[in-house]
Amino acid sequence: MVQIMAQVKVLLVDDEKDYAVTLKERLQLRGYDVQAACTVEDAFEAADSSNPEVILLDMKMPGMDGADVFNRLKSSHPDVEIIIVSGQGAMNERAKEISGRAFDYLIKPVEIQDVARKIQEAWEKRSSRLPEGGRDAGGKDAN
């Protein structure tokens, strides 16, 4: 199956708890260091405490506009790569506004291979952009 690779730190933000938990477990099986947050507050907290490298963000979160969540995460963690996951095919104006700054976006339901690949790509992009020191230990022997 999948090569167990370096512990890429991933944060999953989605209000569907079942989805988030299962996806977390599946990504864990694939060797990622995954955390799940089901509310906006949890997401910010988790982002601050565990400093993820890649965030999978659902644009439709109760209590706060997805674009606002995106902006806040980006501003507090400028290095993080965010992959937008949306339940709707069409994006609203604000989502389009920020989509340029996101690494990519996926439409639900997502295939695990696609998610894993995107995370990998996002992590590689981040790694190539950042100097060696900025990377977490253990991320080195990827590939």
Binding site: E16, E25, M64, K108
Partner: protein
């Protein structure tokens, strides 16, 4: 359908009645005005004609008398008293007189004592004494005289024309007298054209009838009216009652005679109007009536057909708009529904994926030891049951959504049914609840319990409610609140109130919000049809939709619906499609 046919029929009748009454009244006004005008014209005409005829007659009589008087004067100047007293000479004079002027009955010479000394004529008047007769005395005083009509010795009404001839020596005189029958005088005045009821006659200045009158009796009778004042020319006045209104009386003093010509025209000049109207105008009137009727009915027919056509076009356009609005609201739903369904699909996807992962991993060689424990921990019965339940829950969620959607789509057709209003609203809100949660909008439901079930078109009502709640969601800011409440107004009416605390609607705009194509949303965001269609639907459901708004405070939409749609029971609305749902 029958009702609209009746409506058009009524419209036709109404237009026809209106047009006919307008044209008829105009026609009648024209008739009345022309009648009055004609009447006045004819009266004026009668007056001037009478005046003219009387003037002529008066002149004729004057001329007649003048000629006779001149002849007498001529005789008086040409012959001496002796000659005139001679019967032979007098006879010659009389024959010449009669030959040249006619009309004279006799010729006589009277001496200063008033005794008829010489006489030529049909009566035996020689030796008669006239000294007491008025005409003789007047002639003596005035030299020439025209007498009133009198009977005298001969007992036949006549009048005398006399000339005094003084003797050459200055002492004494004789009087030459000619008499003329009253009938001659009467003939003179018949030149005035008369009708059956009219009358023309001569009276003396003393008020004695000089010629017979149809109204006032025979000759020498008393003229019962006041003798008119002497005025030159012909005078015409309106006849007093009881001689009939509309009649006229004319009189003229005849110069150099004691007479007054009087004419009474009783026949009403306007009497002929009736005949004219009957004879000539009636046919024209009836003809124009027929034309008016025909034209009006034709016109009403054409106009109503235009209206019918316009109504039909409008109805078609409305149906089209309604259809496109339905499509638009379906489109809007689709985005929401996609999200709603994609979430449980994702759960199913991931749960099934995890099960597969676990099973596949167990079959594979576990080359990484540290994950072995992790797999082992996951690979137990509870984990699979948990994942399966997740899948089943997600499927249930999808089913709820698809069922609701199907129900909504089915009710796009017009169909009346008994519905629970509160449940209907909950179904609608169900579509939009997610959106309110995402935008942190508080959605308050305040439903009156025990509302009666109402008979209405559920699908259409839901379309309206969806539109109103959607508008409310669009209006309020993040964190705002929307309240949807129901209550019973009275036995026959229930009310749905949708209140938001958005920015409100500008009072200038408020009057227009139910107009088609009126929108305040950005281009492309709204069709401007939602509220106008909602308005149309609620009207069709025999309800009332109202809006109240306070700027910066919010907007309240109120929908009143009848418990039993009276229109539905009376007659099913046009295009109602029963049983197809």
């Amino acid at each position: 359908m029958a009702q609209s046919a009746k409506r058009y029929w009524n419209m036709k009748v109404y237009i026809t009645a209106l047009m006919v009454s307008i044209t008829l009244s105009l026609l009648v006004v024209t008739l009345v005005v022309s009648h009055v005008w004609l009447k006045n014209f004819l009266r004026e005409e009668t007056r001037s004609q009478l005046s003219w005829q009387m003037e002529n007659t008066k002149n004729n009589v004057e001329y007649f008398v003048k000629v006779k008087l001149s002849a007498l004067k001529y005789i008086s100047s040409q012959y001496s008293s002796e000659e005139l007293l001679n019967h032979e000479t007098l006879y010659k004079c009389f024959t010449a007189f009669k030959r040249d002027f006619g009309d004279v009955v006799d010729l006589g010479v009277i001496d200063a004592d008033g005794v008829m000394r010489s006489y030529v004529g049909p009566y035996n008047l020689s030796g008669n004494d006239y000294s007491n007769h008025e005409w003789f005395q007047k002639t003596v005083v005035e030299d020439t005289y025209v007498s009133d009509v009198f009977t005298g010795y001969r007992a036949i009404p006549h009048f005398a024309i006399a000339v005094k001839k003084p003797s050459p020596n200055g002492k004494g005189f004789i009087v030459i007298r000619a008499t003329i029958d009253m009938a001659t005088l009467q003939n003179l005045i018949t030149a005035v054209r008369l009708k059956e009821k009219d009358d023309v006659f001569i009276i003396s200045q003393k008020g004695v009838m000089q010629t017979p009158s149809r109204i006032y009796g025979s000759v020498l009778g008393k003229y019962p009216m006041a003798v008119p004042v002497n005025q030159p020319g012909v005078n015409i006045m309106d006849l007093d009652q009881p001689y009939g209104s509309g009649g006229i009386r004319g009189y003229a003093y005849i110069k150099n005679t004691p007479w007054i010509l009087v004419a009474v025209i009783m026949s009403r000049a306007d009497a002929i109007i009736g005949r004219i109207f009957l004879k000539e105008l009636l046919s024209v009137f009836i003809l124009s009536l027929l034309i008016i009727f025909a034209a009006t009915i034709r016109m009403a027919h054409v106009m109503v057909n235009w209206i019918k056509e316009a109504d039909r076009k409008r109805e078609n356009a409305l149906t089209e708009i309604e259809h496109s609005s339905k499509l638009a609201s379906i489109g809007r739903l689709a985005a929401g529904v996609a999200h709603e369904i994609n979430n449980p699909l994702s759960i199913i996807n991931q749960n099934a994926g995890l099960i597969k992962d676990i099973l596949e991993m167990s079959c594979e060689s576990m080359n990484v030891e540290k994950f072995h424990a992790f797999i082992g921990e996951m690979k137990n019965k509870d984990k699979f049951i948990q994942l399966s339940n997740g899948i089943l829950d997600a499927v249930n969620r999808c089913r709820t959504i698809t069922h609701r959607l199907l129900g909504f789509a089915r009710r796009m057709d017009v169909t009346y049914e008994l519905i629970d209003l509160n449940e209907t609203i909950i179904e609608v809100i169900g579509f939009l609840e997610k959106e309110t949660i995402f935008r942190s909008i508080q959605l308050v439901k305040d439903f009156a319990p025990n509302l009666p079930a109402i008979t209405t078109d559920k699908g259409q009502l839901q379309q309206v409610l969806l539109n109103l709640v959607n508008n409310a969601i669009d209006a309020v800011d993040r964190g705002g609140s929307i309240e949807v409440s129901t209550k019973q107004k009275n036995d026959t009416t229930v009310v749905i109130i949708i209140r938001d605390d958005g920015p409100g609607i500008d009072p200038d705009i408020l009057d227009h919000i139910f107009e088609p194509f009126f929108t305040t949303k950005e281009r492309g965001k709204g069709t401007g049809l939602g509220l106008s269609i909602s308005y149309g639907i609620i009207k069709k459901l025999s309800g009332i939709i109202n809006v109240e708004s306070t700027p910066r405070k919010g907007t309240v939409f109120t929908v009143e619906l009848p418990v039993k749609d009276a229109q539905h029971y009376k007659e099913r609305p046009n295009g109602a499609n029963y049983g197809s749902g």
